[in-house]
Point group: C2
Chain length 245, copies 2
């Protein structure tokens, strides 16, 4: 039986303030459990599941360092951040961003606000083997349950670093900065540098002027239609594909 | 002052059944109004705006064939499909799908269920100059207000055709069918046919077997990460980019 204080603690992790205070976040669903146990087993702090989920997945937590505690459907509904709880919920420790070298392509997000876009960008980055994403001021919180779920497990493989982008660029001034820009060079005709920092802008305002001023290369995705812009996650995906191939 | 029957009619258009019965749908916001007046002026049936919106945009409807009726903030809240109504709402006639030739790249959606993904795919298709999207059984309704808004106006330029995909393929058997598939040829090393039908699958199940059996070409997007799949709208965008360039 789940204690009131434990329930309250888990519910508090629906909010950024308490996630940051506790350096902990939630992830739900069978796929997320499998990904966490494979790629971030040390991050697992607590696990809870309904009787139904446990009877369907009796072996998943067998090798884990943490015991999965059984909770009622009603308690799971109260703990879950999702409208339809998938029956299993984990509390995970936020990773400690280490000091890095950035040898390949690194994404810099200049205020990507939509949680769905952020989740999709992380998942796509994982697909293309990108290891680091630097999130500037105004970017959505990766530990927001919506983002966690939208990453489909990629959150356990791609490292997210929250830092003001200008500070980050100052500390890594040797790496070329590339900005997607309507007046840039045409992407398929451009030779792309590596290592590189690729900046993805805010959904409505694009990349800010102070960051654009730092760009050593501006590139555009050629289109033939009449729409003004591409969705931020879509533009990021096309750029990552071009770098990868 | 808005009549009760008019309010009820507009509210009914939040639901697919009544949209289909009336061949009408809703779109909201200044950008959608500008796009509709430029690209689909004949589709505009009714328009409503708050006093605040009208005072900020006194000229937009000046040349339109339809008068924009002033409604109170409270009525707009009741009419709107959005949590925060942007202050202007249109009732539009659904376009009549004409009989077509399909000379370029045409997208076929095999059960894309997420309204956000459908909206993003339409917007990306518009960017790359794609004129037609065929929506198979199980694909979200393009006239769902969430999809309409997510297209950012592209709904007025890209034609959506709802038809079972097997029927459609039978009627256009001469055009090559291309399916994205994990075991397909590597996209950057493949010469892409034109005209072509490019099939985008369901978010969790991918392209159905009966459609995959019709494919003359299977292609894969090479990655180096460990995530299982790309988001449907992201995969569609990378494929459209590759075709365009």
């Amino acid at each position: 039986m789940l204690s009131k204080s434990r329930l309250k603690y888990i519910q508090s992790l629906h909010h950024k303030k308490f996630r940051d205070e506790n350096s902990a976040f939630l992830a739900e669903g069978t796929k997320m459990v499998e990904e966490a146990l494979q790629f971030a087993p040390d991050a697992l702090l607590e696990a809870y599941a309904t009787p139904e989920w446990l009877s369907e997945h009796p072996f998943i937590f067998k090798q884990a360092a943490v015991t999965c505690q059984e909770v009622s459907e009603a308690d799971m509904q109260r703990m879950s951040s999702l409208h339809t709880p998938p029956g299993v919920l984990m509390v995970l420790r936020m990773p400690e961003p280490a000091v890095h070298a950035f040898p390949g392509l690194t994404l810099l997000l200049d205020g990507v606000q939509d949680p769905g876009n952020l989740g999709t960008i992380i998942r796509t980055a994982d697909w293309f083997g990108i290891r680091h994403i630097v999130c500037g001021t105004g970017t959505a919180d990766v530990f927001n349950p919506k983002v966690v779920q939208a990453t489909m497990g990629s959150i356990f493989r791609v490292q997210l670093i929250y830092r003001p982008l200008l500070n980050f660029l100052d500390a890594h001034a040797e790496t070329p900065v590339v900005v997607a820009h309507l007046d840039g060079q045409s992407l398929p005709e451009t030779s792309l540098p590596l290592p590189a920092f690729l900046v993805i802008g805010n959904e409505s305002k694009g990349v800010s002027d102070v960051i654009t001023d730092r760009a050593s290369l501006k590139i555009s995705i050629p289109g033939s239609g009449q729409t003004e812009s591409l969705n931020a996650a879509v533009a990021a995906a096309i750029l990552m594909y071009a770098w990868h191939n």
